[in-house]
């Protein structure tokens, strides 16, 4: 028997069947969630197929409202009401419209110990790879079944090993690193696969940076990514999750088998952007012609932690963003919002001209905190720049630092001019 990869070990711990890549197996789920977009149809499917029946475990099923929070139309208000009513009937908890992004909220509430399997109506559920767990986004049919039975089928994905190497003296961020990786891996190299990342440039990342990097596995078409813990990771997870004791890290066996090993050289990395219309359309800021910007956005499940907002504050405190340019900041969760408040950085950001919104997915979901008009340019710390995603304009994905400098200068840039 060859050794197992991280995903194969997590699956093995949740299944009675032998786990090998390509095989379809039934897996037990630790947590099943629905959001305010998929949620109403999860409820509808549940009522239609399981009328009068209970959820599999009230302590493992949650709603996390993070998309249109508070609801901006009557239809969204009605949809959230449908979910709350169902939650009350079935005795399950709702992380309501005040709480922020569901995946981050689950981590902060200690609901994702190492090695967990969590599914929900969120395609970036795989950020849970950062806490050594398997998160998988699913549609409302899948989740309704999960609510009822606490299990589902998976085709065991093959695992690709990606070794990141290359010395760079450039002071690059985790977002630069993931855009660089995305520009090389694109959407075909790891499509439908799990990935284990190794190498100093990635293993040195702290927990928020791991979240940034691993959130964009989705944009590479991958299932989930894992990074071995460094000396601080365990303490960082304890701090973010409030868990005193965490389950030991699940590590790949030395003789695990990989479908492919990819060497990824990042030695020419600099400040990066993903130019529209694709996240994998990565390029260096220094290679861009001058691109004037109209909007800046800092937030999302990719860059919505306090560390991201602090980077923006460091650049903008005591300054004013360019006249005519707008900046929205959306903390990932209410905890992040409180941290920003306690650190006393909000006034500086407001003085600089920023709009601070309530926590959630607002920047990406349905233009809840603003969209671009036709032809306008947004610099965004989000993870998707497909046409129409954040308005009718052009959306450049980048780091919090580049967003801050860009709204200061009025054009895409990675330093003050």
């Amino acid at each position: 028997m060859p050794g197992k990869t991280v995903i194969e070990k997590i699956f093995t711990n949740h299944s009675k069947e032998d786990i090998s890549p390509g095989k379809i197996v039934w897996i037990d789920l630790d947590v099943v969630t629905a959001r305010d977009f998929g949620g109403p149809n999860v409820v509808k499917n549940f009522h239609k197929n399981y009328e009068g029946q209970s959820v599999f475990d009230q302590s493992k099923v949650f709603f996390t409202f993070d998309l249109t929070v508070p609801p901006k139309t009557i239809q969204y208000a009605n949809n959230q009401m449908i979910c709350r009513k169902f939650a009350k009937e079935k005795g399950v908890k709702v992380f309501d419209i005040d709480k922020g992004i569901g995946t981050h909220t689950l981590i902060e509430n200690g609901l994702v110990p190492s090695g967990s399997i969590v599914v929900g109506t969120d395609s970036h559920m795989n950020i849970l790879g950062a806490v050594n767990s398997f998160g998988q986004g699913m549609g409302d049919v899948d989740i309704a079944f999960g609510f009822r039975y606490g299990r589902t089928w998976f085709e065991v994905p093959e695992t690709v090993k990606v070794k990141i190497k290359g010395n760079s003296s450039y002071d690059y961020s985790a977002k630069d690193l993931v855009i660089k990786a995305l520009s090389i891996l694109r959407t075909d190299k790891i499509l439908g696969k799990a990935v284990e990342f190794y190498g100093d440039p990635i293993e040195k990342l702290d927990l928020p940076e791991r979240i940034t990097f691993l959130s964009m596995i989705t944009e590479m078409g991958g299932i989930v990514g894992f990074i071995p813990f460094n000396n601080n990771t365990e303490n960082e997870i304890k701090k973010m999750s409030g868990l005193d004791n965490i389950v030991p890290e699940i590590k790949a066996d030395g003789d695990a088998s990989y479908s492919e090993i990819i060497d990824l050289d990042i030695s020419d990395i600099e400040s990066m952007v993903s130019a529209p219309p694709y996240p994998h359309n990565g390029m260096k800021v220094s290679d861009l012609e001058k691109v004037n910007v109209d909007f800046g956005f800092v937030g999302s499940c990719t860059n919505g932690r306090i560390e991201d907002i602090l980077k923006v504050w460091t650049i903008l405190k005591g300054k004013k963003i360019k006249e005519g340019v707008q900046l929205s900041i959306v903390p990932a969760t209410i905890e992040v919002y409180k941290q920003a408040f306690e650190k006393g950085i909000l006034k500086d950001l407001l003085d600089a001209g920023a709009i601070i919104a309530n926590p959630g997915c607002g920047g990406c979901a349905q233009g809840h905190i603003g969209m671009t008009g036709k032809g306008e340019v947004m610099v965004s710390t989000g993870n998707r720049n497909f046409p129409g995603k954040q308005g009718d304009g052009f959306n450049y994905l980048t780091s919090p630092e580049v967003v801050a400098f860009s709204v200061l200068n009025g054009f895409i840039s990675d330093r003050e001019f």
Partner: protein, 174 residues
Amino acid sequence: MTDFKVKGKVWLITDNNGELINDIDTDQIFHNQFLHITEISEMGEHTFGNLEGWENFPEKCNPGDIVFAGSNFGAGSSRQQAVDCFEALGIKAIVAESYGAIYKRNAINSGFPILIFQQINNFVKDDAIKNLDEIEIDFLAGELKNISSGKIFKINPFSKVQKDIMEKGSLLTI
């Protein structure tokens, strides 16, 4: 008895160069501004509403038609609407080089036939399959026949789980 065969007219979802479009994201299939919609029957009219050049697809297509696309079809979000909207239009199957991982699950679990046709774009470029050609697909045998030209192509047959779920209607009724 579930019928694991389908016959219909082809819609090649192509760009200006006549190539099948890759990486079509769920926001291009079913834009997030309509995610409040929960009735499947109301979803059809928004299909491809944010895909340049294909905004009027719902008016052009007919029930029974089959959609062809490039690689990584349905990349992006977990929204079921991006599958259900085709069901609402009466589209009988989607054929693509590959699918976004969540999209693939969502289609399989709702019993909607999606098929993998490797090198699909080469056949389209060679005009072996043209827009509005009449084709027949055998899901279990993994065979796609162009009735208009008589040519037969090998495609990936249904996986076992795909067959089992479609036979029962959906994951919810197994």
